[in-house]
Assembly symmetry: C2
Homo-oligomer: 180 residues x 2
């Protein structure tokens, strides 16, 4: 799909079909993350792709808010090894690197008809325990991945309507020219 249409049309998906995600599509979205730019090309990102229903259930159970996650055929867990990124002005760039790479996944998914939903509100410690993620690795975000449900729940419909309208600030609220 054209980049412009992709950016305009992509929105968070919270209800999914049971239909599995084809290997080819999964590899395509991961490949798009692989090609992302990163701090000194360090590629600090790591991804856990969860298809096993028991593991999905366990990850979904780590947060009351994210129970619905288990209904997606795939859960993606975006992690980083901070050692492979940089720190400058007190900012940890592994968050930027993972932001870029995971957004590549999000856009690539929309490109092949798959839904995603950026999730930052989760219990990192519990997610790490369930998945056996090493101490030095940070979990930055989760997302479901799958085919959007055709008949969504009322909750899904409300959220979809809100998301579709893309409520955003106008440019003049966040763009400055030559000086703040």
């Amino acid at each position: 799909m054209e980049f412009r249409s992709l950016v305009e049309s992509r929105s968070s998906v919270r209800t999914y079909q049971k239909k599995p995600v084809e290997e080819e599509k999964l590899n395509y979205v991961l490949e798009c993350a692989r090609l992302a730019p990163s701090w000194a090309n360090g590629q600090c990102w790591r991804f856990v792709v969860i298809r096993d229903p028991d593991v999905r259930k366990k990850v979904a159970a780590t947060s009351l808010l994210n129970r619905w996650l288990k209904t997606a055929p795939v859960i993606l867990v975006a992690c980083a090894d901070p050692k492979e990124s940089g720190t400058r002005n007190g900012l940890h760039y592994f968050c930027v690197d993972v932001g870029i790479a995971f957004e590549h996944i999000v856009l690539a998914a929309a490109d092949v008809g798959l839904g995603t939903c950026w999730l930052g509100a989760f219990d990192e410690k519990q997610v790490k325990t369930v998945l056996g993620i090493p101490k030095q690795i940070r979990v930055v975000a989760l997302s479901p991945l799958g085919y959007p449900a055709k008949r969504t729940s009322l909750f899904g419909k409300i959220i979809k309507t809100i998301a579709r309208s893309k409520r955003r600030k106008p440019l003049e609220d966040f763009v400055h020219y030559d000086h703040w």
Copy 2:
């Protein structure tokens, strides 16, 4: 351009033509940032678009490494108001939000034939002073924006060759299935 081709072909550009960036293209790349997803749709991002040659010179002078920046017709400064994003598990999500939105700009720029280059190594304090950026605002990244030079310098050529080859880890180095 198709998203797939965009991700495959985009690379950092360090030498630029003097040709100014058309208002329409500038607005297109900013519009693509505007439509990015963010923590609770907080849209914490702020951008300073520098076209004034004197201001560009001053920003470029804040770092020895980034002197070449002044040769680009536009410098973009990606900032965030952390209050409009979230913090979870000790991570500041304004870095993720700006990572996403600035990468939308980077891809949108490539989509209309413009070059960019993610820069995280700069002196935030000095950049803030030059641009009059308020205390509570964080500067996350800089990038030049402009038409890539047709005849690049030797340095530019070397960098371009390296970047074009997209040296990246294979998927198996950073993807885990169901468990770490």
